[in-house]
Symmetry: C2
Subunit: 342 residues, 2 copies
DNA sequence: TGTTAGCACTCACTTCTTTGGAGTGCTAAT
DNA sequence: ATTAGCACTCCAAAGAAGTGAGTGCTAACA
């Protein structure tokens, strides 16, 4: 199979761009008017015929115009999309008055992104790949309950209430605190292994029992993968007729509501080490229900090895150029938001 | 206008019940077969004509069957629905292995409820009307940052990182902790007023500055009304044709996604002091976009004056009987979940 | 040899009409 | 007071027909 010559590329580009705008199958006459190379519709038809044979475009039915196939979109994203640097987004203003808590920020970000792009969006909390314990504190809430507070790098605060079945006096508590802090401080999760734990228990002497319980609690708390996923703009999909028939819309929104499915997307995109922007077109997406969509994900990083993921879900004919620009902006800005605490 | 006689009531009841099942306008023949009183369709027609004149049912168009009007539904809910005690719901099993954190529990509850009822659901975090401070703890995370952890009644843990602009030695910290705890312990939010604060500052002596900052932080943290709303089952509305045309569905789901609109519902239903179950039919709902729906809300209470709200959003022809049963069960069970900590 | 004009053909969409059926209201008989 | 019967209404589903955008193919042209 021979490759695409220059003219074919131009025509393919024109087809895709037009389709991105209109969402309607595009015919030969439209293209013959659109392109700078002056060609009659008949010629375009011949070329289109070739392009179809090569698998870049398809006809929804005989005697309709052509629409890009997944392969076509892929070609478009890979070759036709020159990443011109985008102007600084309006996100900037928002960054200034940054809200308090990470959760809020993330929700806000998802919302803004959805509003500016008109697609559905998702964002995850940063996953502590190698996040380190910064501070641990145990305190007695009342006789029977112990509160463990753990602060991770990046000021991620976790807490857990641990029920006690034996008394614990203040002095012991103090000792435990010192012990825990000096031992755990600076360790990342994978570094807190069985060895560390048994050593700790040993050092605790007569309190090894309680240390055991507490450590279990602490460990569970730390490793509790709070991969929260926030979504926004689900209803944006109704703006695209090709997605808004009841069946598809329902499935899509369900997927966005039941975040768990999205997790697979996230993990996949996080694993990917390269540039950070990932484009899934149609069937490429790990989520079946999104086979009629495109998903663009980006990874943001908090320096400490904390990585999170932002994603945009839209129709295949999404404005890849704009979306990728936005995401690029966003990820770099998220960085700066979280780096410096309030 | 004369009142409904016995037979009219029976017929109205039959009409509504049938309509609840089918979702289609119901005609006279159907009813004539349905009811135990053996009447011909003609008689039913006469009665229906009366019922329509009285405003309990309407015709979508001439020569279609009748469907209940809002007034009809209202009558049904108020008089025809005898609240027979329901069997203990399957919720029970779930209660046993109760998940850790309140947030999780609430999300789960919303989800379960949505699954069992096939309607959209929402649930709020309990609002601390009079929630009391149980425990306060300040600790130094590093030189420049102070972590304040506050445990409220019902083991609601809040935390905030407070930036410091002066050094703070351990001894002082200890004192502050004791001071804060002894003063704030057992107080509810409205009880922490300016008087308390100034008294505290006084007692802090040379550290009144820092106490000021900390108190501000604490106060803000406590009063930060985290009225979170969780929703689930939004896509259930697609199961009801009368709600699932693109326009309506989109608006509805949007309302469920952008929780803020729901807040008005919640506050309204929380204010209502009576039985706890509230039914909004059509236009009765404070939310405009839900004028084609019915909303049933219930209040759950955590004893300590913490009140939250659960709601079900569905078509007007929802199964009020089942829904109200479920809600009644649920609220009483939520109580027991939160009462006894793990 | 690449390009183009022309033509017959396809097929989704829209609009209009037809038809069937469910349902009503009214009247006259029981 | 109840019911059978009938004419009438109106929605909804099913055809029927016209429209137009688009294609593929062939033959002519530079």
């Amino acid at each position: 199979m021979e490759e695409l010559d220059d003219r074919k590329i131009k025509i393919l580009d024109a087809i895709i761009r037009t389709y991105l705008e209109t969402g309607e199958p595009v015919g030969s006459r439209t293209i013959s008017k659109y392109t700078d190379l002056n060609l009659s519709s008949a010629t375009i038809r011949n070329e289109m015929s070739d392009l179809e044979e090569l698998g870049y475009i398809v006809q929804p039915h005989t005697s309709a115009g052509r629409i890009p196939s997944d392969k076509g979109y892929r070609f478009y994203v890979d070759h036709l999309l020159l990443n011109k640097e985008k102007e600084i987004s309006d996100m900037k203003e928002f960054v200034i008055e940054h809200t308090e808590r990470m959760e809020q920020v993330l929700k806000q970000v998802a919302k803004m992104l959805a509003q500016t792009t008109n697609y559905a969006t998702m964002i995850t909390t940063p996953k502590s790949t190698g996040g380190k314990v910064k501070f641990v504190q145990l305190s007695l809430v009342d006789e029977a309950q112990l509160l463990a507070v753990i602060v991770m790098d990046g000021n991620l605060v976790k807490n857990k209430i641990i029920p006690l079945n034996q008394e614990l006096d203040n002095e012991t508590l103090l000792k435990l605190n010192i012990l825990l802090n000096s031992t755990l401080n600076g360790l990342s999760i994978p570094e807190i292994n069985l060895g560390t734990i048994s050593r700790l228990k040993e050092q605790a002497g007569e309190y090894s029992d309680i240390v055991g319980i507490v450590l279990d609690g602490v460990a569970e708390t730390i490793s509790r993968e709070e991969l929260e996923i926030y979504t926004s703009g689900a209803t944006n999909i109704f703006k695209y007729p090709e997605l808004s028939d009841t069946q598809k819309a329902s499935e899509l929104i369900y997927a966005l509501e039941e975040k768990q499915q999205l997790a697979s997307l996230v993990t996949e995109s996080l694993q990917n080490e390269n540039t950070g922007i990932q484009v899934y077109i149609g069937d490429e997406s790990p989520i079946q229900t999104m086979k009629d969509c495109s998903v663009v994900t980006a990874t943001y990083e908090l320096g400490d090895g904390m990585k999170g993921s932002v994603g945009i879900i839209g129709p295949k004919r999404m404005d890849y150029e704009k979306v990728m620009g936005h995401l690029k902006d966003l990820t770099s800005q998220l960085d700066s938001i979280f780096k410096k605490p309030t």
